[in-house]
Symmetry: C2
Subunit: 462 residues, 2 copies
Amino acid sequence: MQNEESLEPSINSSFCVLRSAFLVLVISFTGSAAAETIADQIIQRELAGSQAYDTLSYLTDNIGQRLSGSKGAAAAVKWTTDRFRSWGVPVTTEKVMVPHWVRGAEEARLVSHMDQKIVLTALGGSVATSMMGLTADVVEVNSFDELKALGAKAKGKIVFYNNPMDMDLVRAHRGFEAYGKAVAFRSSGPSRAAEYGAVAALIRSVGSASLRTTHTGALRYDPNQPKIPAAAMTAEDAMLVDRLLKKGERVRMHLLLTPRILPDVESANVIAELRGSEKPEEIVVIGGHLDSWDLGTGAIDDGSGVAMVMETMRLLKEMNLTPKRTIRCVLFMNEENGSNGGRAYFANHKNDKHVAAIESDSGVAAPTGFRTTLKGDALTALERRAEPLAAIGAAKFETTRETGADTSFLIEAGVPGFSFVPEPLHYFDYHHTPADTLDKVDPKELAQDSAAVAALTWILAN
Amino acid sequence: MQNEESLEPSINSSFCVLRSAFLVLVISFTGSAAAETIADQIIQRELAGSQAYDTLSYLTDNIGQRLSGSKGAAAAVKWTTDRFRSWGVPVTTEKVMVPHWVRGAEEARLVSHMDQKIVLTALGGSVATSMMGLTADVVEVNSFDELKALGAKAKGKIVFYNNPMDMDLVRAHRGFEAYGKAVAFRSSGPSRAAEYGAVAALIRSVGSASLRTTHTGALRYDPNQPKIPAAAMTAEDAMLVDRLLKKGERVRMHLLLTPRILPDVESANVIAELRGSEKPEEIVVIGGHLDSWDLGTGAIDDGSGVAMVMETMRLLKEMNLTPKRTIRCVLFMNEENGSNGGRAYFANHKNDKHVAAIESDSGVAAPTGFRTTLKGDALTALERRAEPLAAIGAAKFETTRETGADTSFLIEAGVPGFSFVPEPLHYFDYHHTPADTLDKVDPKELAQDSAAVAALTWILAN
């Protein structure tokens, strides 16, 4: 997930209208015991015979990284489509044009300090240096105010934003907040530095653990500024440069980045449906994103989310359960560096009658519950219906304004949103790093998570 | 440190003779309270005004990696020599010829599985593949017996030794044992595989933590076998290949390694001395190794050991303490890939009267005590003298046969040996990896460790 500050949807007026509609909907089925019983069965069946790990294993081990425009992303579209079909779940794809950014060489060394190697990785979307690289002094700032104070002194320099995640927040299980703060420098830092004449921008990798570990993610260039190359140093390298500068030494770096920005590529959202028996025109959307960053294999971001929502469809089909409303599973393309899949889905389906949207893009760990845009009586009514989720520790609902990037367009239009919340403590140890790989996933926890998503989906659809 | 099985010294007969001499020596100063009082003062002074972290900071941040033959190693020889001189401690250097192995490109991908990137690092001393790399099927074994059973089936293949560290041992604070077992495949695995016609050898990185983290270290080619390229995959990549093979899939890898073996280089041990006032011909050697692996900056292996023994000399000089016996501090070159420094020191000084040798090459963490070749009454007598070390938790002595690679030549010749032992739990999380950097060192613990080494040195020299 991106979790960039600017992606937080504003709450507009249509939201209130639709939320009222949903309130009626939720309250209308209070008192029916059948849904709860089936939710219990869904959970038990999933825990006993989950295939979610097999799905995730193929996506990550056999296909690997799935960055938008890559052959991995294309293979993932094809394989997931085939997979739904093999389960007997009707499926289609929806065209999405995506950027095609390809990582190249990424090398740096301190020419001022024995040519020490600096470990870094290009930010997604970065332009390249020249093929010979560039050499410049490094200046450090910790805020945009400090950058402004530096002013003309940034000209010709490499601007280094040294902003670690707030580990107190991480340890308080509020890693997403800590990430949101630190990542501002990744998104807009390069263009802000370019404004003052910097020749490149570096950030400190935004992660909660490091063994010289790089953490990539998208930058966003301001069209009014020159595009300068940008990369994330590991925490260790950031601390090294900081220590040398604090000793009063001149730090001069050679930097070579050769990513390529190729023409946009046609890709797709994958859309599978279980048609509702009573109100087929009313749709519960569940989704994760099929693309990943390219450093790891996207097991936690967001292979696991994809596995959970695919598993929901497989399980309901296997159990021969037909929901009253339509359940639509969307595997979004390009969440990581454009959100074009979420945008395309909204453009194509904004007139559909969406009654709820569940996004799973917060990793995989012991389930805790859901964040939701619902509150008040509507939430209370739902909590009563969702009691079966307590059996797997997933019955906690917390009101929020933001439930995920791909469904943000729906949420902004007033659709009640849900975001699945596994325990977040270690998410940012791996997210967007080369270490986001299958071994970080506990199959039992993935089954519990899938059970939680499947059960809530069933409850909302009935 | 290497801790390779074949480095364990055998106990020969001269050992017993010299140990008896030492026993007399230790018992002879039982009853003198002065040494203990000064040991207390040494500890207090070091804790109050340690400069060990400054020493380590320059070695790692300003000089960086110090692989034998590199410009970092040469800079380290010069800087440490100058540093002793600036403290007023007499210092000299001693010629050591060292290998000059230079890491090159190291790239691998699974051509059988979407060209997935495999993260690996060449083993120290490895020959290169051709400049185009090689492509071959991967076969996995978990022991030399399995390799033997594979026999001719290894011909033309990449042999992959999938041997993780025993994490139960690591958690039981016995990481060095776990390392010793797993590292056998790194040392002799490549030649054993070559014997069966393998074209390359891979091991699973020998470490106790991984965020897609490579762990290098020396291999040892059998002169009777063809030299084949060899590398360590990260734990994650090793697990990936293992999972794919266990699914019954054919795993085919493209491997490119371009290290270069250049002509040997003249380097040096750095030798500083505080001459004894009463028995200057009797020498207590203290040492660490100045070289490091090239992936990190060798902060824990063995910049910290070097910092501790240098600090001992600086501190005694600053306190105007003249020992009765000579204290000789040796910064050994080339421990990591040849032990030529330890060997050269022994060749040049085997006729000196060494009464004890303390090696510090087990990292930096809270001090626990020392391993020693002493036992019985000699050890009991020493333990009594070393009571001041209890103030910093460093008074535990444990009898062992092995106290370190550089002093192993002395120990084998019968000199009583000591090895400083910090808490080992996290040592192999960083050792030989890119993450062996200054930020892993707690300055307070380094001061405690330095105090422990300085205090024991003083006690043994008086």
